[in-house]
Amino acid sequence: MSFLEIDNLSVSFGGLKALTGVSLSVGRGEILAVVGPNGAGKSTLFNAVNGFVDVQGGSIRLEGKELTRMAVHKRATLGITRTFQNLELLPFKTALDNILMGLHLKIHTGLFSSAIHFGKNRRMEERAEAEALGVMSSLGIRFCRDSPAGSLPFVTRRMVELARALVSRPVLMLLDEPSSGMNEQETRELGKVIKWIRAEYGTAIILVEHDMSLVMGISDRVLVLNFGMKLSEGPPDRIKRDKQVQEAFLGKSYDDAGG
């Protein structure tokens, strides 16, 4: 049985069907890229897995556990983390504090202990800080530990978000357009980082991505969505040659349309 299983998932907003009958399975430690034209339902799929949208039909299971109706913050306890397309960092907090936020569920201290910041809270905070700094070093952003996140360059902010998602050692990571706003070289670096994350942490990664070189370079499998439906699914090489996919992205070629 696979690790994340999405079965016949349907989401609609009023009359608009954002997703219709999408089924999908992701294995442990697999990198799956979700591609598709604008409005294909990629982000909706993410938000459904994450719990930000209500699902009308179908089910989502993680390790056999039903998450379809689970609250967003409860899903995080199962080890699902994500990054956001439009960066949801705390701009006035330091990069380190932002990353520590990712450890919210790993630190267990009560109000009283926090208020005196002594003993248990101090020990836990120190351990969490060490953990966060470790991840920062691995991603090469340790230099900005004390800078407010809002003041950082865009690409660094993306890395801080990635670190925040990574620091709790998740089993499933959802990356929403991680390379948007990056240039070619930065995108290549990002590809390496994502592969390293999988190798180091064994995390299953689902990413929505527009940059085809990144998608083809790192993903084990590619899922193509179009108008909320699954158009095609398979290894990147096959997807690249798939006629239907080419049509969805580029339109029908002149020869095909004529013939």
């Binding site: 995080a76 956001f84 949801e88 006035f92």
Partner: protein, 361 residues
């Protein structure tokens, strides 16, 4: 709408504590404790009021500055604490030392009850809902006149601690300020380095991110209300016993606004800022009184001059220093730190640069 601390184009770090802060603290501490020995009765009275306002402002800062939830009904929480404590002492004959924390707890329950409808509301709507709560409390005080004395107010006995009666301003000062310091440090510890503080800030800055990383919005918003109203309750209890006489006039909408102003002018999200704000705003009327003597005759006779200056100060802060007094303090600190080489660094903080960068977007 979410209230953010400071100018959205200017990201001043919300400082964690540093060793220099501790040195500052250790230097200031003895000054606070010898202060009343050199002050007259009236000045000590003012200091005590300032101390009580500091507790309220620091508490409100947890709700508004940390968590981004506006409360325009904080005076109602103070009222809850004041009447609860007064009734516990006069009717149930409890000792003040028990009545005060108990008043805090009772007010926390009031905060909890307010928080439940407030969970669904944001920004302005939340402000209006909390304002409604304060009207309800105001009406309740009048309606329950058997207990509260209604519009006429009620007398509250002096504090008695272990059989020792606290009757002078100076005695009250020494009772009050250890408590003020304790509550400020606790609020700072929670804000600076704890999962609870980070959850609060996450709710303020980005609810989706907070949820995605396991913060239960319901739980933490309620917690913010409960903590904030606990502070208000304790402050209310102290205020009641210090003034000796409380009535609905002590807890009006104007007071609620004043508390919000303290937090905003001081600098949202920082305990030091709230302290500065509380000191500044509560001493402003005194400052105006002193300045008044030097003003021309026609201004001096103006009854509402106090309110006009008050409004001007608010406007001035909103326009020139949206990150509050604490933000200004941070800038001065950065400036001093790099003193001989400040030219280049200071440029980042220049107004023109900020305007330029916002024009770029």
């Amino acid at each position: 709408m979410s209230i953010k601390s400071g100018n959205s184009k200017l990201y001043l770090r919300e400082d964690r504590e540093k060793r220099s802060d501790w040195i500052f603290f250790i230097l200031v501490l003895p000054v606070i404790f010898v202060l009343p020995l050199f002050l007259g009765s009236y000045s000590t009275y003012l200091c005590n009021l300032v101390g009580i306002y500091i507790i309220i402002a620091v508490g409100l800062n947890i709700l508004t500055g940390y968590t981004g939830q506006v409360s325009l009904g904080h005076a109602a929480f103070v009222a809850c604490g004041a009447y609860a404590s007064a009734l516990l002492v006069t009717r149930l004959h409890l000792s003040f030392l028990i009545a005060m924390p108990l008043a805090g707890v009772i007010t926390s329950v009031a905060g909890l009850i307010t928080a439940i409808p407030a969970l669904r509301l944001k920004g302005l709507y939340l402000a209006i809902a909390t304002m409604a709560f304060s009207f309800i409390v105001g009406e309740a005080i009048v309606a329950l006149s058997d207990l509260t004395g209604g519009v006429g107010g009620m007398f509250v006995p002096n504090i008695v601690v272990f059989g020792y009666k606290i009757s002078t301003d100076r005695q009250f000062f020494y009772l009050l300020f250890p408590l003020v310091i304790l509550l400020c440090l606790a609020a700072k510890a929670v804000g600076d380095h704890s999962r609870i503080g980070r959850a609060f800030f996450a709710i303020r800055d980005s609810e989706p991110a907070a949820e995605a990383f396991g913060v239960s919005l319901t739980q933490y918003k309620i917690l913010a209300f409960v903590l904030s109203s606990f502070y208000a309750g304790v402050a209310g209890s102290l205020l009641a016993h210090y003034l000796g006489m409380i009535g609905p006039d002590n807890f009006t909408l104007m007071h609620s606004i004043q508390y919000i102003v303290m937090v905003v002018v001081g600098g949202m999200g920082s305990v030091a800022g709230s302290i500065m704000g509380a000191v500044f705003i509560s001493l402003l009327p005194e400052g105006i009184r002193i300045v008044k003597d030097y003003l021309p005759e026609f201004l001096r006779q103006e009854q509402e001059l106090h309110m006009v200056i008050y409004a001007l100060v608010m406007l001035g802060f909103m326009i020139f220093e949206p990150s509050g007094m604490y933000g200004r303090w941070l800038r001065i600190k950065y400036y001093m730190k790099r003193f001989p080489f400040n030219k280049k660094k200071a440029r980042i903080f220049k107004r023109r640069e900020i305007k330029y960068s916002s024009a770029m977007e």
